[in-house]
């Protein structure tokens, strides 16, 4: 079996610095995930810990997210796609930054979500096709987070089921 290796881009000092500067944003995103999908937050944390413990990293870095992969998309349109690397019941996290106006299209749902800067979307990106077909009025940055299912599998971390409305009510409801 091939060894698991760190992304080559993580060795760049600029990337490490960016990760460092992104820490407050990532901490907030982690905290929100711990509410919307506590089990996914837990397995993401465990998988990253297991990976760090099992692998001798070329360039150790303070990875700020419970997600195992981050893509930065700058001034790009996004054609309709599904995220192949995630588990079906895993949420990808999309954070819209920059300025301008765009819509996030969830084509399987016939939905167009306003993708204002500062917006967070947790979606089952492996299953639901999504796209950003156009944007207007400024620079656009999207930070996409993924949990690589193969990494979790290699770390012997189980894939949690999707949370349900009922579970969420039991957990956080007032009991009335």
């Amino acid at each position: 079996m091939d060894p698991i290796v760190q992304s080559a881009s993580l060795k760049l000092p600029e990337v490490q610095e960016w990760l460092h500067q992104s820490e407050p944003m990532e901490s907030l995103a982690n905290a929100i995930l711990s509410i919307v999908h506590p089990d996914l937050h837990q397995v993401g944390f465990e998988a990253n810990q297991a990976y760090e413990a099992s692998t001798e990293l070329d360039k150790p870095c303070d990875w700020p997210s419970v997600y195992s992969g981050i893509d930065i998309i700058v001034n790009r349109l996004t054609p309709p796609h599904r995220d192949a690397g995630s588990a079906a019941s895993s949420y990808d996290l999309l954070i819209s930054l920059g300025e301008g106006h765009a819509d996030l299209h969830l084509t399987d749902l016939g939905a167009q979500l306003k993708y204002w800067p500062g917006t967070l979307v947790f979606l089952t990106g492996r299953v639901l096709e999504h796209a950003v077909p156009e944007w207007k009025g400024g620079e656009r940055v999207a930070v996409a987070h993924y949990m690589k299912d193969l990494l979790h599998d290699r770390m012997h971390v189980p894939c949690p089921a999707l949370p349900t409305q009922l579970l969420w009510w039991f957990k956080f409801g007032s009991g009335r």
Binding site: I72, V74, H81, I95, E99, A111, W116, L123
Partner: protein
Amino acid sequence: MTFIGDLVAVEWDFNRFSQATKVGVKWKENLEVFFQMARLGKVNKPATIVDRHGKLLVWYLPNIFFPGRTVCFPQADSYFGYIHGLPVGKIQLCCKRPEDSSGIPQLFNLVSKISFPPKRRQNSVWEQ
């Protein structure tokens, strides 16, 4: 108790739908033949989308970061010029000077450094 924002339900079962959208499944192009496809339209308020069994498929949380903490871009050419055809800007955290937190110039730099060659903006399409 009210749920977070609007709660929107689709008519299909998530597990069955996910089987149909697996890579290599030929009938995924004809999903509407097998599933009652939703037409949810425009969504601009906090919302969750669930399947017919109440599984939470999407959490839509608009404007979580207030404007002062999102990335703000000035006129790019007046500050940093262009790097590989990408307009570059500055990050503005808590509405302070860009020198205090220069994430965005770095961001553009590192994106141009680690990703595919940039294309002209009007043709820019991100592909996985």
